[in-house]
Amino acid sequence: MKDRFNLYRFASPATFYPFAGALIPYFVAVSILFGLAGLWLGMLVAPTDFQQGEGYRIIFIHVPASWMSMFIYLVMAGWAAIGLAFNTRLSGMMAQALAPTGALMAFLSLLTGALWGKPMWGAWWVWDARLTSELILLFLYIGYMALTAAIDDARRADKAGGLLLLVGVVNIPIIYFSVKWWNTLHQGSSVNLAKSSMATTMLWGMLLMAMCFWMYSIAIALMRVRTIMLERERHTDWVKAELLGKAGDEK
């Protein structure tokens, strides 16, 4: 990279593959650092909640997972828009690489929510607007993954998946508000997530954990996109050279 830094250079899998490989260790390291700091702050330093006791500490997993599940969908839709507008190969691969992580985050958010809800509200599941929309978000992730998995032609899978993502992203606010109104119409708000005030250490712990999840998602998505690249570009010379090089290292 002696010449001027050019972003478009990395739109090609052949150049992005080693670049991603070089970035992964840094994101993993940063994620671990943030995670350790966040867990230390969240588990040991943050004060015990006067209402919820120690049980509230699951918030340090729950809230970052929920944030990431929504954020990753937006990022995927962003990649989809870029892919459909500029017809770049990398965008579809990035969207597909992010999808399982996003689904995982949505699932984690639901799971930790259930674990948190049982002792606090006395129920594993309530049809609260946020829970319901998170569940629908999980359905959208699963639909995307099912669609791309069903299409054999990789280019068509990228484009069809991208279109579905864009349709989904337009629908998410509609779904969210309809679920919210449905909820307020059907039952009184028995669940109030809003807290009066949050201790600064709690907020910092949550932000640190969010950064940890964020960096983890980037690292894991880059790892996944590298495998997708190898699979899709297996007919090209650079993949053959790459694989031969690896086989050579092992000998």
């Binding site: 959208l140 669609l147 069809a160 279109l163 864009l166 349709v167 509609i174 679920v179």
Partner: protein, 222 residues
């Protein structure tokens, strides 16, 4: 612009009329699903009246889904779809025509039969009227959103199951406001607000969905 839409509607209706069994089977699917609920839940009129809007709407969603895969599949198989895509008219208008035809064949019959089924659930006259109106106003949105799913899954293996996976989450707002309109009427609140929102969903999806479906069809036809 309206000529091409009208032409596509006329053609699709003619094709549908030649195969009336398809229309009737979707309709009977709706009737059977709705009739199964009292058998599963019990015959208490109080309970049934409470459940009726939701049951009827969920059954309507499923019945509309049933005929979605055929929206483009037949035309795709015999090559008509490619000719339509090559035609000088925007593909979005063609899809608009197909969506309207699909609604006339699948949504409209549901709205006409729904009050009869509503009587089985002991709904009042007001609620029956609201139910018919809500299904009448809401089902075009289902056809519109469904067209996107049908276009995306065109020619894929396991397309039918995949289609429901893609489309049902997007149907949720229609279900909420559709059932909500009837619920509100039963509760004596008046469902006009819900109907307005339902109409907004319908117009939005009739306006945008055909173009998204056209883009998906172009991807499928590549």
């Amino acid at each position: 612009m309206f000529r091409i839409i009208a032409a596509v509607i006329g053609r699709d209706l003619k094709l549908a009329m030649r195969r009336q069994a398809d229309i009737v089977s979707a309709l009977f699917f709706f009737i059977i699903v709705v009739s199964l609920f009292p058998l599963g839940i019990g015959p208490e009129p109080e309970l049934l009246r409470k459940l009726a809007p939701g049951v009827l709407w969920v059954a309507a969603l499923l019945a509309t889904m049933l005929s979605l895969p055929r929206m483009f599949a037949d035309d795709h198989r015999d090559g008509t779809l490619e000719q339509l895509a090559l035609a000088p008219h925007p593909l979005g208008l063609v899809v608009t025509g197909k969506v309207i035809a699909h609604w006339l064949v699948s949504g409209l019959p549901l709205a006409l039969i729904a009050p009869v089924l509503g009587i089985q659930f002991d709904l009042s006259t007001d609620a029956l009227l609201m139910l018919t109106g809500a299904i009448l106003i809401g089902t075009p949105a289902l056809s519109g959103i469904g067209a996107i799913g049908a276009a995306l899954t065109l020619g894929l293996r396991g397309g039918g199951v995949l289609l429901s996976l893609l489309v049902l989450p997007l149907y949720i707002p229609v279900l909420i406001f559709g059932a909500g309109a009837v619920d509100a009427t039963v509760a004596g609140l008046g469902g006009e607000g819900h109907l307005s929102l339902l109409a907004a969903l319908t117009f939005a999806s009739l306006g945008f969905a055909p173009w998204a479906s056209a883009a998906a069809l172009k991807i499928a036809l590549e």
